[in-house]
């Protein structure tokens, strides 16, 4: 027996302890998100999953589900704000999709398509962010970092290595490597680490893979991110899904 809340006029069941995001995805309802990952504690930093509850805007990935909440997500106003957030992320870094090997597998790009971000919206900041190619098997392209901290969390919580951290404040905030030299070659990161698998954009890359997956077979070529995210969500036993 579970309680329910309303999401865009539809009833969504939830278990005690679930967030609105978790319950929505489990029930097959997509709320756009970037820094949320089903295997990690919610972070609430990208704000893309912002929903409106009782006149307040709040990140759905950190909002505990409660009975009878009236949650609005798929509205014109909220999607416009999400588009603006995506535009800001694109403007803040150096995201050149045409030559990026993560193209087609990138959550930021996929969200841009899904939310119909058709224009830049802001002047690009063109930050100077040199690559770290020091590691023999792993490349770091900081140009594409969106500061979601998924690699920080994965390295610390799953790999137990603390390879990554964020440093600086405000617009100067950036991803660093936890080594005295600041270089990835001086860490104990391995290709098999969880931190290698969670980057939603094209920052942490196994070397020499590049464009080996042909166009048409990449993750978001077949189905949009809104459909893929539901595939990844934890599912209750068959037949228990609420629509």
């Amino acid at each position: 027996m579970s309680d329910t809340f309303q999401l865009d006029g539809k009833e969504v069941a939830f278990e005690s302890g679930q967030t609105v995001m978790q319950a929505a995805l489990t029930a097959g309802h997509y709320i756009p998100h970037l820094c949320y990952h089903p295997e990690f504690k919610p972070h609430g930093s990208c704000k893309l999953c912002t929903v409106e509850v009782g006149g307040r805007t709040v990140a759905s990935c950190t909002l505990p589900a409660e009975a009878n909440l009236n949650v609005e997500s798929n509205t014109g106003e909220l999607n416009a704000l999400r588009r603006t957030l995506i535009q800001m992320l694109f403007a803040e870094g150096n995201h050149f999709c045409p030559s990026c090997e993560k193209s087609g597998n990138c959550m930021l790009q996929a969200l841009g398509y899904d939310l119909e971000v058709h224009t830049a919206g802001f002047r690009h900041m063109y930050p100077d962010r040199p690559l770290d190619a020091s590691h023999p098997d792993i490349l770091l392209d900081f140009n594409r970092c969106i500061l979601c901290e998924l690699c920080v969390r994965a390295s610390a919580e799953v790999d137990g290595k603390n390879v990554f951290a964020l440093a600086g404040r405000g617009s100067g905030k950036h991803l660093i490597v936890n080594a005295e030299s600041g270089l990835l070659k001086d860490t104990n990161i391995a290709l098999t680490d969880k931190a290698m698998q969670v980057c939603p954009v094209g920052v942490i890359l196994p070397k020499r893979v590049g464009f080996t997956v042909p166009i048409g077979e990449r993750r978001y070529d077949q189905r949009p991110i809104s459909a893929q995210a539901l595939d990844d969500a934890p599912r209750p036993p068959s037949g228990a899904r609420h629509e």
Partner: protein, 500 residues
């Protein structure tokens, strides 16, 4: 300066201060942006003619620091018309970097992609960009001198042109994943083969494509027969040539050794390993152009410039290894005692012969079961330097990279086809200025003669995305002090006016 004598003194006028300047800016119905300036005296005598190209060469700089496997996808953004050329040239350079010899499947998929590119680019150039000049006349009614006019007057020719290009684009899509800017070629191989379904999809039309390509060769052949003096003499000059040839001397647009011949047909070098191209080719710089001027080292910068592209390839190969195109090559070589092989407008004939060859190569490859192979990539011992050279639609294309131990590109040099042809194009327009403009009152039709000569080379002026030939164009007449005396404006709808 230069190998041609007649036009030597038209590069730099002796007393430019006393002359008026006419600019064709931008040159239309070519890829990218360029302009022509003419300096004329009070009697309309031509004293200086220059083709200026505002070619953006930033790629060589901003590829530095990038991982080498990114190069084939990034550098193809140089161009929206023949990106496959840059994609494959960079991939061939990266094959050397990763030390891999291509598997049969990888090489044949790449060849298919490249010949698809040749087909679509040659069709685009001939039908969309040049057929209006050739079918209607160089100074015909400017309102009809475009592809829309061709479609109205010669609907079957226009339709075949559009569908030939479309087929080439489909070959590219099947092999590279997208019609423009795909990812099919990767260091050491390809990322996909051609499925049976994809093969059959292309096979169902290939007979028609070969037939239409034969028709296209016939069109140019007839144009030469009907206008023999004009076609033989228009902007014609003698020049050295450079191109790749297969080990047996056959035409091969994907791979081979470098062959250079002087203007009298004497071989300067043959089957030269392009991995050391810098020992035989060097690049000169001139103060009035953003584009470099390559030359053959053995002849020096003054006389060592040369021509690349279809006219050089078809005339300098020993044979074309496909029967229909070879038959047409022999007709071309023997036409009127070989006069077309030296003519600037002979480019069009040679280009259509290559298009026919491309169609035949595609047909033969589609019947090769290696296209369905699954051994796609071969990696060997990592190298520091990679050079990739192909014959792009417009001519020899050189990509040269150095990669450090961290897999980052530290040096890149690109010599694109249009750069090789820089001096040759300047020579052609100086000839035309002498032949048609010198001492005559300027008209739009006369200025179009200059553009017709440039278009014959199919230049990709900025190696940038194509703009169809209705770009607004303004010809200014300035006095010696640089003040505007007169102006002729072509609007984007193709109409002309004299403002003020």
């Amino acid at each position: 300066m230069g190998c041609s004598n007649m036009t030597d003194n038209l590069e730099t006028a002796a007393h430019p201060g006393n002359l008026r300047r006419v600019a064709i800016d931008p040159v239309s119905r070519v890829e990218g942006h360029g302009k022509v300036t003419l300096l004329l005296d009070e009697n309309d005598r031509v004293h200086q003619v220059r083709l200026h190209i505002v070619e953006f060469r930033g790629f060589e700089k901003f590829i530095q620091g990038r991982p080498y496997w990114e190069a084939p996808v990034m550098v193809q953004r140089l161009c929206g018309i023949c990106p496959v050329s840059h994609h494959i040239a960079a991939s061939k350079a990266m094959d050397m970097i990763v030390g891999g010899t291509l598997t049969p499947t990888a090489e044949k998929v790449r060849r298919l992609m490249h010949y698809g590119q040749i087909l679509q680019s040659h069709a685009l150039h001939f039908f969309h960009l040049c057929s209006p000049d050739l079918l209607f006349g160089f100074d015909s009614d400017v309102a009809k001198r475009n592809i829309v006019g061709v479609a109205a007057a010669h609907p079957e020719i226009a339709k075949q042109g559009v569908l030939l290009r479309k087929f080439g684009q489909e070959v590219i899509r099947v092999t590279a994943g997208k019609r423009i800017h795909g990812t099919g070629a990767i260091p050491g191989g390809v990322n996909k083969n051609v499925s049976v379904e994809e093969r059959d999809y292309l096979l169902k039309d290939i007979g028609q494509i070969v037939g239409w390509s034969q028709n296209a060769v016939g069109i140019v052949h007839r144009l030469f027969e009907q206008n023999i003096d004009l076609y033989n003499n228009f902007g014609t000059f003698k020049t050295h040539t450079l191109n790749l040839v297969r080990a047996d001397g056959a035409l091969d647009l994907y791979h081979g050794g470098l062959r250079a011949r002087d203007m009298d047909g004497n071989t300067l070098f043959d089957h030269y390993d392009y991995g050391h191209y810098w020992d035989v080719i060097f690049e000169d710089v001139k103060p009035w152009s953003y584009m470099k001027f390559p030359f053959l080292r053995s002849l020096g910068p003054e006389t060592g410039w040369y021509r690349v592209g279809p006219l050089s390839r078809v005339t300098q190969c020993d044979f074309i290894p496909s029967p229909l195109a070879e038959e047409q090559r022999q007709a071309f070589m023997t036409f009127n005692g070989g006069s077309a092989t030296r003519a600037t407008l002979g480019f069009h004939w040679a280009r259509m012969i290559e298009m026919l060859h491309a169609a035949e190569v595609i047909r033969d490859l589609l019947h090769d079961p290696d296209l369905q192979g699954t051994d796609l990539v071969n990696i060997g011992n990592r190298q520091e330097r990679g050079v990739g050279v192909i014959e792009a639609p417009r001519g020899t294309l050189i990509h040269h990279y150095k990669v450090d131990e961290h897999d980052q590109i530290i040096r890149c040099n690109l010599i694109v086809s249009t750069t090789h042809n820089n001096q040759a194009m300047n020579e052609a327009i100086r000839q035309v200025a002498r032949q048609y403009i010198d001492g005559r009152k300027l008209t739009e039709g006369l200025l179009n003669h200059i553009e017709v000569a440039i278009r014959a080379f199919d230049p990709c002026l900025s190696c940038a995305t194509h703009a169809l030939g209705k770009m607004p164009l303004e010809v200014e007449l300035l006095n010696a002090e640089g003040a505007r005396v007169d102006v002729l404006v072509r609007a984007s709808d193709g109409t002309f006016c004299l403002p003020g």
